[in-house]
């Protein structure tokens, strides 16, 4: 294996060794959401006129799991390594900032997709689900996970203690994923909140992902693709710049 491949392998091995915590636990959380919300709202809510609520909810929950776990992977790995001091093993190597980026973001994508797939395989049998455009599903899942993996890199580099990391996760990532249309179509929101949702890139990730399942969405998948790609490029550029300059890791 080359240098970046080894770092990628090490990052995958790291979360795989604690898979109960990194894979099974978030899958269980999503399954509980599915059971509870599905039970309460199945007979009361229909989305896009004919889609049952649980069928609508499942892709949203899958994408939310993908995004949150992609973020958690790179951010927690970096902050732990910084605080424990073992990041020095990577800092002493000839790995370039591109190698770091590809390895950390790549492993975040793997974990995000693993959790998303886990949610689907555990709950998929409960609902009627279609795959109208599978390629869109894959594109938005990978791009969304990549963006959150890169965002996790930025947070992991910036945070100096677990408290700061928790603040980033609870006050930025969580609200943006919850307020992105996981549990509802934004057409059901008042006009002000609808407009506000259009400024949330997470909304486009989930909307585009859902389009792959139903062939219907709140906005065009091409619009979503453009927004998500732009956000991904921007976040990646920031993460690469921080890695290249050694922000908070090389003094």
């Amino acid at each position: 294996m080359t240098g970046w491949q080894t770092l990628f392998y090490k990052e995958v091995l790291r979360f795989w060794k604690v898979a109960f915590q990194t894979i099974a636990a978030p899958v269980l959380t999503s399954v509980l959401y599915m059971l509870i919300f599905g039970h309460v709202l199945e007979d009361r809510v229909k989305v896009y006129d004919q889609v049952p609520y649980t069928s609508f909810l499942l892709p949203g929950l899958m994408m939310m799991s993908v995004l949150q776990n992609a973020f958690a992977n790179s951010s927690s790995s970096l902050i732990q390594s910084k605080i424990m001091g073992n990041l020095v093993f990577v800092l002493l190597t000839p790995l370039s900032h591109w190698s770091w980026f590809v390895a950390y973001v790549g492993s975040s994508i793997v974990r995000g997709l693993a959790v998303g797939a886990g949610v689907f395989f555990i709950t998929g049998w409960m609902v009627h689900i279609q795959f109208v455009y599978p390629l869109w599903i894959l594109v938005f899942a990978i791009m969304g996970a990549a963006m959150l993996g890169a965002l996790g890199l930025i947070a992991g580099l910036w945070a100096e203690k677990f408290d700061q990391m928790a603040a980033f996760q609870n006050f930025i990532i969580m609200p943006m994923t919850f307020l992105s249309g996981v549990f509802y179509s934004i057409h059901s929101l008042p006009a002000f909140w609808q407009r506000l949702s259009h400024f949330n890139p997470f909304f486009y990730m989930i909307d585009g992902f859902r389009y792959g399942f139903f062939g219907q969405s709140d906005v065009s998948p091409w619009t979503s693709l453009t927004v998500v790609a732009t956000a991904l490029l921007l976040v990646s550029a920031i993460a690469l710049h921080l890695l290249r300059t050694g922000y908070k890791i090389r003094s």
Partner: protein, 309 residues
């Protein structure tokens, strides 16, 4: 070409708080380490040794000056420079997710080194880690973790080995195992840069020594020349009470053992008379040649007056 080249290297840290002044950790440090040398970098805590090594390793950026490893600049050509370096960090750090063998294989992979199982096995054997290869890093004692740190720094067979206080707080057995192994690598042509607080180790191992004080090089000589440069011999004795005040300023005191620099017989007699006059009994009196610790203390006490040679 030098194995290591430090050219007028300075490092100034910005003030930690408003009103504080910047801290100059290194001040125009210039020194060269030749290929195959066993080189010692000595100095009291805060002298700048670890900062200098951190700049070499790319963990810290120099404010001024250049550092090269076999001609490769550690900033502009960092990948080539780091491939040639094996650095043992001072802090006892480890990755709790992996076993010893996994940690070594992963570290090899970072350097793009594959199929090095024979070398990994040799490292495990030579550093007394063979029976711990499958153990998780968390299960190891402090001494064992230190051995793994050394092994990790050597997985890619670096031409230059940098050891930042590798024997701090470890037992005699590890020290002996480690020095035997490092000396063997040095004989095979690997350059070694060592910082240590155990001056007897530096005296025994290092062909040349640089001493740092407050970020500046205050001595840079062959170890044998440094020892020859000592101006005094040492009067060593054991005392049953507190040393007279007149002698305290010049003495090295370790428990009951007192060591005083002496230049001639009159000075010896004068010191012993002062001890007798204080009503103290001196035992095990002997006169010995100055060792590196004496030279170190002498150099540090005269500050920069010794100058860079």
């Amino acid at each position: 070409m030098s194995a290591l080249s430090f050219q007028s290297v300075s490092k100034t840290y910005p003030p930690r708080s408003a009103g504080a002044s910047p801290f100059k950790a290194l001040d125009r440090v210039t020194l060269e380490v030749q290929e195959g040398e066993f080189f010692g970098l000595l100095g009291p805590n805060g002298a700048g040794k670890t900062t200098l090594i951190s700049i070499l390793a790319g963990l810290v950026r120099a404010s001024e000056g250049h550092v090269r490893v076999h001609g490769h600049d550690v900033q502009a050509d960092y990948a080539a420079a780091r491939r040639l370096l094996g650095v043992v960090p001072q802090e006892l750090v480890f990755d709790p997710f992996f076993s010893v063998r996994e940690a070594l294989k992963i570290q090899s992979g970072y350097f793009g080194v594959r199929h090095n199982d024979a070398w990994v096995d040799e490292l495990l054997e030579s550093l007394g880690l063979a029976d711990k290869a499958g153990a998780n890093m968390r299960q190891l004692s402090g001494g064992m973790k230190r051995r793994v740190l050394v092994a990790q720094s050597l997985v890619h067979k670096p031409r230059v080995i940098v050891l930042d206080e590798p024997t701090a707080g470890v037992d005699v057995e590890l020290r002996q195992t480690l020095w035997q192994f490092i000396a063997k690598l040095n004989k095979q042509g690997h350059t070694v840069l060592l910082t240590t607080h155990y001056l007897e180790e530096a005296e025994a191992l290092c062909g040349r020594i640089a001493m740092l004080k407050q970020g500046q090089v205050v001595a840079l000589e062959r170890t044998s020349d440094l020892l020859r440069s000592a101006t005094a011999q040492v009067l060593r004795l054991k005392l049953d009470g507190e040393l007279p005040a007149a002698l305290r300023g010049v003495a090295r005191v370790t428990g009951r053992i007192v060591q005083l620099p002496v230049h001639n017989a009159i000075e010896i007699e004068s010191h012993l008379a002062a001890i007798r006059a204080a009503g103290l009994v001196a035992e095990d009196v002997e006169i010995r040649q100055a060792d590196l610790e004496d030279v170190f203390l002498e150099v540090m006490s005269r500050g920069q007056t010794g100058g860079q040679k």
